[in-house]
Each structure stands twice: as structure tokens, then as C-alpha cells.
């Protein structure tokens, strides 16, 4: 649905005339006139108000009874009073009523000092109680989950947590049990409330009923400082505020930015801060000495690294992991290209020209478009794993704005239940599927590519029909705003065919230059887009310029091959361990083995680095960094340091510029801000950005006409590429992969989250399991192409028979150890 427009009206509150958009909820409209109406249950993020607590009562002229301000929209000429004796009496009565059963154990309550119930009791309560009877008692505190403690005595039954679970994250786990004074919040059968977004209820609860177990009793509001930054643990790049006490991050809170996160966080973002203070952090430079990495001084590490890099010269390749900032990526490519004279740098690992063509500002949808489009197509990505907060945004659009959702994925999606239509294709059939869909929209042969994708032709035609006519109601079908949310992993699977088909699909749906529709990429790693724009891509200089390098510039796979063949001798890893994060772990293992020099910036010694790194520089965590990252929808956001660097860690920009100084080239960088300056100057569509302008909310450059005009037009894409046909199982099973939201070393090293650390599991359809004689929970060996790994069977009813799915990004038995399209499974 297109964004609603509101006309401005005038109403009177406490004798003051106030202008507000029509139908604004009275509580919000009152704020425009500097009048505060106390609320407990009202929270606009949760959708429709429920009017459960009655704290917001106001008097409206012409209506005999007091009205709830949280559920009354303002109308022109409304006259509202919030200060009359009747209102005051009602407010005091509600507070007294809420406190009847409230333990008021503020000194031991974790909410004390930041508790709306305390504030409202002080501000609007009567100050006395007449209740001398015993209060209700519950056993307390209980574990609602390993992350959340619940104190049922303190609950004021505002429904916020239950509404979140039912209407926002739609995990349908929390309910209210019993009636009357005995009512309490819990899960239906008492199992722990474990869900990707469960932590949000801690922040929602207006009292100390739901508290964070990791933060429990750590600090009081007056002991701490808040420090705004951006979470870089996934591409959603939610805005966060770190709670810092004594130079330690103790908590992460959401910092609402409607253009990014809508005020929600996933549990990884909320609790994985603990890894910042993990003992496993690398906090001093390490050097391989006698086969072991040993701590050395900065001087020795820098001198050795500079010497080794100098020796390798143009035989150095650079890889940046997704957690690198734009500045770090920018300096890395300067070091590799300008100083060392090599042309091999990569970050995303897929064809950068494809990404360039699909990142065009006229095709770019913003994150908010997802919420207001007529139709959203989720293509080849699982938002809850790949970009969790996007999942909430899609659900919000479907629930509140009647967005029609279509899901087209190989693996069953958690969005299937909300979708108007779900289409499956076989892993490996990505290119063919997009080709078939484009043909169905645009005209052309659908049957052949659909068969090659292992997808149902009729389903593809229905999907095309939905995309083409999703704009009107059922009688009056019209083309509408379509947002295609696509995973950049598609390009890795069958890059050549996906890009031209996707571009054609977008123009067939008239998405070019359209407000409210377009493409939205879901990258495989946090700052994939920013690194691409900063020039960390083979053959593309910052801002998609020309590098002027002669010969071939290797991308990720090419670098691995060249290292194995001895064409390249050294590798510079910025926040990356290719064995963990890149496809073909076996090939990478041999490449790193063969490389004479591996210089790495790392926070943690993952297996690949422990085995193969020559020099390891301690890297900053996201709470210590300064710099910028770019959101998948083009919003440049700023990271700010919340705490001091751990141990002897030094900033990456300093290390990169110091190395280049030692190699005889001065980058001219003395502070982090100077690196940002250089980046903004080098990228034409970042021109005019400053750290100040980016500020706390970020700047979406595709929305700025001048910046969009400065975007260099991508070269014509090759249209003749043939799609690949998905492998014929022939008794074996097709292998698809996915990366769980809980994958990542940060989860493993955060004590609160370790229980969620994923272990390898193979998802399959019950039919396949029966055929193979395995059951849910069995240990099996998955083998393909000479390699094998162990996994636990997970049956999914919605999975299409013939395909199985394994996880990547985990520390042991990861799917990138199998470089095969088909696998065999047998009992372990």
C-alpha cells in the first residue's frame, strides 16, 4: 500500500491550539503541544493500541466519559483536557490500582532508575495507598529463557510483550495465563521463550518484570554511559546504543531509526556484545615463530609484515571480510593497489559488475519501501537468517499495510506462513528460476528454464501474475509498487544468468526510477555494499572507477587458485578467515598452506588463522571502531567508539597507513576522520558527505539526486549467458546451503548466547528421510565429491524432496567443506 498522507488539523489541548496530522493518536499529538500524557501499554511500534492499562485517560469535550488517549485519533476542532480534577483523580486511581499488587521492591529491581512505573507513580500518582491486605505472590525470579528473567509479581499486565510475540515477531510463544490477579505471562507449555527477537521484550516491558539475565544487576542508570553506534554483526546494521560502565560494554539497546531498524534488535545484536570482552580476543600482535604464533611487540610485527609484503610485492592479494568498515576497505585497496602494485582485492566474492548493475540508484528500493509496497518478493534469501530485522519489516508490511508477500526460495522459508504465495526451486537452479520468472512476466519461454530450475511452471506463472497485477484490489488489478528483496548469494550460485534476468524483471515490472518500488539486496556479509563502493572489488576502483590495471584482477576464487598455483605468494586478510567464510574450504586450506605470507587483522584466532597466519594484528571490535559502513539500501552510517581498545589493539587505519609508510608511500592519514575524508573524496556519489552530516541517523545517498547522478553507469550486462541446470539427483540429493542467524564466532564466545551455537544439521524432506531410513535427530554422514561431514537430521515438512540443506559459517563441519552439488547421506 502506498504511504498514507495526512492533512494537518488543529485541536486544542489544555487551552493551547496545536497543529497535528489528522488521525494521529492523541498521546503523540499532545507531544506536539508539549503536553505529556502518561502511558504504559501504548507503544506505536507494536501496532494497534489495545487500551489495556487506562493510564492515558483524558477528558474530551462533548464525550461524557474519560477517553483513553492512546486509542483516540485526533480530529479537527477536538478540545482535550489533561489537567482537570476528573483526569487527575482518574490517573491517581489507576496508579493506586496498579500498585495494589506491585511489590515495589525497587532497590533490588533491575528496572529501578529507568522505570516508567516509578516515574509515573511520582509524576501522576496519589502518593499513598489504602491497600493493607497481603499482595499476591509468585515464585520469583524465574527464567523465561536463558536470556530473560521474569518476575511475575511486578507485571502490570500491559500486554506489550505478548503483543510483540504475537503481532511483531509472530513467533506466537508468549501468552497470558490465568485470569484476574492470578494472570501471568509465560509460554503456552512452559518451554523457554527462545526466538530470534526475544530480547526486545526486555526493552518493551515498562516495569522490571522482564529483565535481561546477562545485564542483571550489572549497573544502575547513573553508573553508566550510553554510546550510540551501529551493530555490524549482520547486514541489517541496526542502530544501537552501547551501555558502558567502567570501560566495559554491559548491554546493547536499540536506537530507533525508522529507516533502518524500526527500533528492534535481534538477539545476536543484543547479546553478542559479550564477545568484545572475551578472553579469546587477540589483544597483541602475534608472529609465527617456530610454527607457533607468539606475542611480539608492535614494532617487530610491523617490521616483519612490511618486510614480507615488500618481498611479495605484486604477488599480494587482499581479502576484506564483511565486518570491515568502508575506510578500512578503502585503505586496504590503496595498500594493495597503490603501494604494492597488485590488482587482486576482493570482498564480496561475486562478480562486482553484477553487483554494480543491480545497485543502480534508480532501481534501489529503500528499507521503508518494503513496508509500503503493494507486493514484496523475497527471492533466494531467508531474511531471518541473513538480515534478521528485515524479517520484522516484511511481517509488519503484511500485517499492517496488507502488502502481498511472495516467497521464492530453495529452502523453506519462515515467511511462508505470511506469504500469499511461496514457490520452491531446487538449489543450483537460481539462474534458471529467475530466467523463468522474467519470461513469465515479460514473455518468453517459461517451461525450459522452469524445468532447469526444478520449479513448478504454474507456480511461476501465478507468481508473475501476482507481481504484475498486485497493485489493485481483486476486481481492479493494476501494476503496483513491487520490491524485490533478493539475496546476493544468488549471484554466487549462478551469477551470470541471475543479473540480466533480474534487471529485465525489474524493467518488466516498471521498477526503474520508481518511488516505492525497486530492488533491495540482502548481502551475504555486513558491509558488502560499502566495501564494493569503496573499491574492494577486483578491477573496480573506489566509486566503480577504473583501476587502470593491466591484466586480470582475481576475485576470491581466482585468488585462491593463484595462491595454490604459486602465481600469488602472499595474502592480506582484513577481518576475514576464508576457510570459515568463503566457499570451498578445502581449496582455501591448500591456498593458505601454499602462501608464504598471510597477514591478518583479527579479533579472534579462528582455525584458519591459527594454522596459517604469519602475522596477526589485533583488530578492533565493533564497539571500539570509528568509521562508516553502508547499509544495503545505500544508507551510509557511522560507527563511533564506545569503549577504549582492548589490550594493545590499534586501529586498522593506523596499521594500514603505517605499513604503507614503511613500504615507502605515505597515505597522508593521521586520524580516522582523515581516512573518511579521503574515502568521501574518492567516491563520486559520496561527495559532500561528512561525518557530521552522517551523524547518528546516516545518509541515504541514492535518495540524493546529486549523488545518484554521480553514480557511474554500469557497463551493459551480458545478455547471452545461459543459466545452469540444477543437478539431477539420480538417487543422490541436491545440496543447498544457508547461514544461520546464530552462526558466527561472536555468538559462540558470548556466554549468554553459547547455548544457541549452531551445530551442523541437515534439513531434509520427510520423504527423503524415509527413503534413506533416517529419522529426525539421527546422526548422519553427508558425503560429496570426496569430502564428508557429520550432521544431525532435521526434518522439515515444507522442504522439497530431493534437496537437502547444510549450514555454512559454523566452526566445525561447515558446509563449505563440501564443494559438491550432489551429496549422499548415510547413517553415522
Amino acid at each position: 500500500m502506498p504511504r498514507p498522507e495526512h492533512r494537518s488539523i488543529t485541536f486544542t489541548i489544555d487551552g493551547r491550539e496545536v497543529q497535528a496530522p489528522e488521525n494521529t493518536i492523541l498521546v503523540d499529538a499532545a507531544k506536539l503541544g508539549d503536553v505529556e500524557i502518561p502511558v504504559f501499554c501504548y507503544e506505536p511500534k507494536l501496532g494497534q493500541p489495545v487500551g489495556a492499562c487506562r493510564m492515558c485517560l483524558v477528558e474530551i469535550e462533548g464525550i461524557p466519559k474519560l477517553q483513553t488517549g492512546c486509542s483516540t485519533p485526533v480530529k479537527d476542532g477536538m478540545v482535550v483536557h489533561t489537567q482537570t480534577a476528573r483526569v487527575k483523580e482518574a490517573q491517581a486511581a489507576v496508579v493506586e490500582f496498579l500498585l495494589i499488587n506491585h511489590p515495589l521492591d525497587c532497590p533490588v529491581c533491575d528496572k529501578g532508575g529507568e522505570c516508567p512505573l516509578q516515574d509515573i507513580s511520582y509524576g501522576w500518582g496519589g502518593g499513598t495507598t489504602r491497600f493493607i491486605e497481603p499482595k499476591r505472590h509468585f515464585v520469583k525470579p524465574l527464567e523465561l529463557s536463558p536470556l530473560i528473567a521474569i518476575d511475575r509479581e511486578r507485571c502490570i499486565l500491559c500486554y506489550r510483550c505478548v503483543r510483540f510475540s504475537q503481532e511483531v515477531s509472530e513467533d506466537y510463544q508468549l501468552v497470558l495465563h490465568e485470569r484476574g490477579a492470578a494472570t501471568f505471562v509465560g509460554t503456552f507449555d512452559g518451554h523457554p521463550y527462545v526466538a530470534p527477537f526475544s530480547g526486545n521484550i526486555i526493552e518493551l516491558c515498562p516495569v522490571g518484570a522482564l529483565t535481561s539475565r546477562p545485564y542483571r544487576f550489572r549497573a544502575r542508570p547513573w553508573d553508566i554511559e550510553g554510546s550510540g553506534s551501529v551493530c555490524t554483526l549482520c547486514p541489517a546494521q541496526c542502530n544501537v546504543s552501547f551501555t558502558v560502565r567502567d570501560e566495559r560494554v554491559l548491554r546493547v539497546l536499540a536506537r530507533q531509526n525508522d529507516g533502518v531498524d524500526d527500533g528492534w534488535l535481534c538477539d545476536k545484536g543484543r547479546f553478542a556484545y559479550q564477545s568484545v570482552h572475551s578472553d579469546e580476543r587477540v589483544t597483541q600482535p602475534l608472529l609465527r615463530d617456530g610454527g607457533e604464533l607468539r606475542p611480539v611487540s608492535w614494532e617487530r610485527a610491523l617490521a616483519t609484515a612490511a618486510g614480507l609484503l615488500k618481498k611479495a610485492g605484486a604477488g599480494v592479494a587482499g581479502l576484506a571480510g564483511g565486518e570491515s568498515t568502508n575506510e578500512e576497505g578503502f585503505l586496504l585497496q590503496r595498500l594493495i593497489r597503490e603501494v604494492l602494485g597488485s590488482s587482486h582485492v576482493d570482498a564480496a566474492g561475486v562478480d562486482p559488475v553484477d553487483l554494480w548493475s543491480l545497485a543502480r540508484p534508480d532501481l534501489q528500493a529503500s528499507l521503508q519501501d518494503v513496508e509500503y509496497a503493494h507486493t514484496v518478493l523475497v527471492l533466494g534469501t531467508e531474511p531471518v537468517d541473513d538480515m534478521p530485522i528485515l524479517d520484522l519489516r516484511i511481517r509488519k508490511g503484511v500485517r499492517r499495510n496488507r502488502v502481498k508477500l511472495a516467497v521464492a526460495t530453495a529452502r523453506p522459508s519462515s515467511l511462508d506462513a505470511s506469504a500469499a504465495l511461496s514457490v520452491r526451486y531446487a538449489p543450483g537452479g537460481e539462474g534458471a528460476f529467475v530466467t523463468a520468472l522474467t519470461a513469465a512476466v515479460y514473455g518468453g519461454d517459461v517451461d525450459a528454464p522452469a524445468a532447469a530450475a526444478g520449479a513448478d511452471v504454474d507456480a511461476i506463472r501465478t507468481l508473475a501474475e501476482l507481481l504484475r497485477t498486485g497493485g489493485g484490489d481483486d476486481d481492479n488489478r493494476a501494476p503496483g509498487d513491487v520490491v524485490i528483496v533478493w539475496g546476493t548469494r544468488l549471484l554466487g550460485a549462478d551469477g551470470g544468468a541471475v543479473t540480466p534476468a533480474l534487471l529485465k524483471l525489474a524493467s518488466g515490472l516498471a521498477l526503474t526510477g520508481r518511488d516505492g518500488g525497486g530492488l533491495l539486496a540482502v548481502p551475504a556479509s555486513t558491509n558488502e555494499r560499502g566495501l564494493l563502493e569503496a573499491g574492494v572489488a577486483p578491477g573496480l576502483a573506489p566509486g566503480f572507477g577504473d583501476t587502470g590495471a593491466a591484466g586480470e584482477s582475481y576475485a576470491e576464487a581466482g585468488i585462491a587458485r593463484a595462491l595454490r598455483d604459486g602465481d600469488l605468494t602472499a595474502l592480506y586478510l582484513l577481518h576475514d578467515d576464508p576457510i570459515l567464510s568463503r566457499p570451498d574450504a578445502v581449496g582455501w586450506d591448500r591456498a593458505l598452506e601454499k602462501a608464504t605470507t598471510v597477514v591478518a587483522h583479527a579479533q579472534f584466532l579462528t582455525a584458519g588463522l591459527r594454522e596459517h597466519a604469519t602475522v596477526v594484528f589485533p583488530a578492533e571490535s565493533y564497539a571500539e571502531k570509528e568509521g562508516t559502513v553502508t547499509h544495503p539500501d545505500g544508507r551510509v552510517q557511522r560507527l563511533r567508539p564506545a569503549i577504549g581498545r582492548q589490550g594493545q589493539t590499534r586501529p586498522e587505519w593506523w596499521v594500514l597507513s603505517e605499513l604503507s609508510r614503511r613500504l615507502g608511500a605515505d597515505m597522508g592519514i593521521l586520524t580516522g576522520a582523515m581516512a573518511s575524508r579521503q574515502l568521501f573524496d574518492a567516491v563520486p556519489f559520496y561527495a559532500g558527505l561528512t561525518l557530521d552530516r552522517i551523524g547518528g541517523r546516516g545518509v541515504r545517498w541514492p535518495a540524493d539526486p546529486a549523488a545518484a547522478a554521480a553514480f557511474p553507469p554500469p557497463p551493459e550486462v551480458r545478455r547471452d549467458v545461459a543459466y545452469e541446470t540444477t543437478a539431477t539427483p539420480n538417487g543422490a540429493l541436491r545440496l543447498g546451503t544457508f547461514r544461520s542467524i546464530w552462526a558466527g564466532i561472536e555468538v559462540e564466545l558470548s556466554p549468554a548466547l553459547t547455548f544457541l551455537t549452531p551445530r551442523q544439521q541437515v534439513e531434509m524432506a520427510p520423504a527423503d528421510a524415509r527413503r534413506l531410513g533416517v529419522a529426525h535427530g539421527d546422526k548422519v554422514v553427508v558425503a560429496g565429491d570426496g569430502a564428508s561431514l557429520e550432521a544431525t537430521v532435521v526434518l522439515r515438512n515444507a522442504a522439497s524432496p530431493g534437496s537437502v540443506f547444510l549450514q555454512t559459517g559454523i566452526q566445525t563441519d561447515a558446509a563449505n567443506g563440501l564443494d559438491a552439488a550432489l551429496v549422499e547421506i548415510h547413517k553415522a
Binding site: 532497590p107 544487576f217 553508573d223
Partner: protein
């Protein structure tokens, strides 16, 4: 740079020097007059205290060095680590880090206890706000005033020091004293 007085000459005016008679009067008669005052006071009795052997007694509401308290019956600490004293302290000299009681380690009566409780007595202004803020009467201003030390860091009193009985008690002023 040398100083040039310039035209500002300073003239010093002196009284005339006393003659022989005047000098003699000053040396004997005036001295005797002073001694008269001295001996008159000696018979008045002793006014000073022999500190540190003798100590000034304090009033019951004297605000001296803080004390933390335990329940007499259970031996549990009264402090629950709520940090309200730290919030009230205008000198910002109290640091509380709370932790959770477990069945194995029960320190206080509530859910939480103070795992770290420190007062920096070199900054404390003995205003007593902490005592007023405490909801459990866990912290009170004691009568101790002997707190000088050689190191500033020794003036940071830990929870153990605040819970312990003072080495020597300051005497309390008796009724009507």
C-alpha cells in the same frame, strides 16, 4: 631583567628609639605583666586533651566514617547493592557493583547484594546523604574520625573494612556533657 624603582621611592617611618629608662621598663615590667596572665590561667585548670591518648568524645549524631551493617540474627548483610547511596552522594565517592545471590552464596537478604562496595573517604564530605538514601539502613555514618593515612589509595574503604568493627571506637559524649 633588573628592577628599576624609577621615581617611586619608599619612605620608611620609624618611631624614636626608646631611651635607657624606657628600654628597662619594657624588658622587666611588661614581661611581668605577661607572666601574670600566664600564671593566672595555670591555676584555672587543663583545657587541652592529650590526643591521641585522650580523644574528644563525639555527639550521638556525629557524622564520621561510615559503617555497613549486618542483620544480627541471620548474619546477612543489610545492603542489597541498590546503588541508591551512590546516586545520592554529591561527592560521587561511592562505587557499588551488585551481583546476584545464589543458594550456595547468600550474602544479603534480597535477590542482589553488593559484590563491590567502596567509599573513597578522601573525597567524602561527610554530608550523610548516603545514610538518608539507603532504604535498608545498611549504611550509617559512624563515629570514627581518625582516618588520616599515608597513601590516598588507602583511603578507599572496601566493603570488608566498612563491615568490620572499627579498631578503636571513638568515645561518645555522655548525656549533658
Amino acid at each position: 631583567m633588573s628592577w628599576h624603582p624609577g621615581a617611586d621611592q619608599i619612605e620608611v617611618m620609624r618611631p624614636p628609639a626608646p631611651g635607657a629608662a624606657g628600654g628597662t621598663y619594657r624588658a622587666f615590667a611588661e614581661t611581668m605583666r605577661g607572666l601574670k596572665t600566664t600564671f593566672a590561667r595555670v591555676i584555672e585548670g587543663v583545657h587541652t586533651l592529650q590526643y591521641p591518648e585522650q580523644k574528644t568524645p563525639v555527639y550521638p549524631r556525629f557524622r564520621g566514617r561510615h559503617r555497613l551493617h549486618k542483620f544480627e540474627d541471620t548474619g546477612l548483610e543489610k545492603c542489597v547493592g541498590c546503588s541508591l547511596c551512590a546516586a545520592a552522594c554529591p561527592a560521587d565517592c561511592i562505587r557499588v557493583v551488585a551481583a546476584e545471590n545464589t543458594p550456595e552464596l547468600r550474602v544479603s537478604a534480597g535477590e542482589r547484594y553488593a559484590s563491590v562496595y567502596e567509599i573513597n573517604l578522601s573525597r567524602c564530605i561527610f554530608c550523610g546523604y548516603c545514610e538518608v538514601a539507603c532504604p535498608f539502613d545498611a549504611i550509617t555514618m559512624g563515629h570514627d574520625y581518625e582516618m588520616s593515612d599515608y597513601q590516598r589509595s588507602d583511603l578507599i574503604f572496601t566493603k570488608e573494612m566498612l563491615l568490620a568493627e572499627p579498631l578503636e571506637r571513638a568515645p561518645l559524649r555522655a548525656e549533658g556533657e
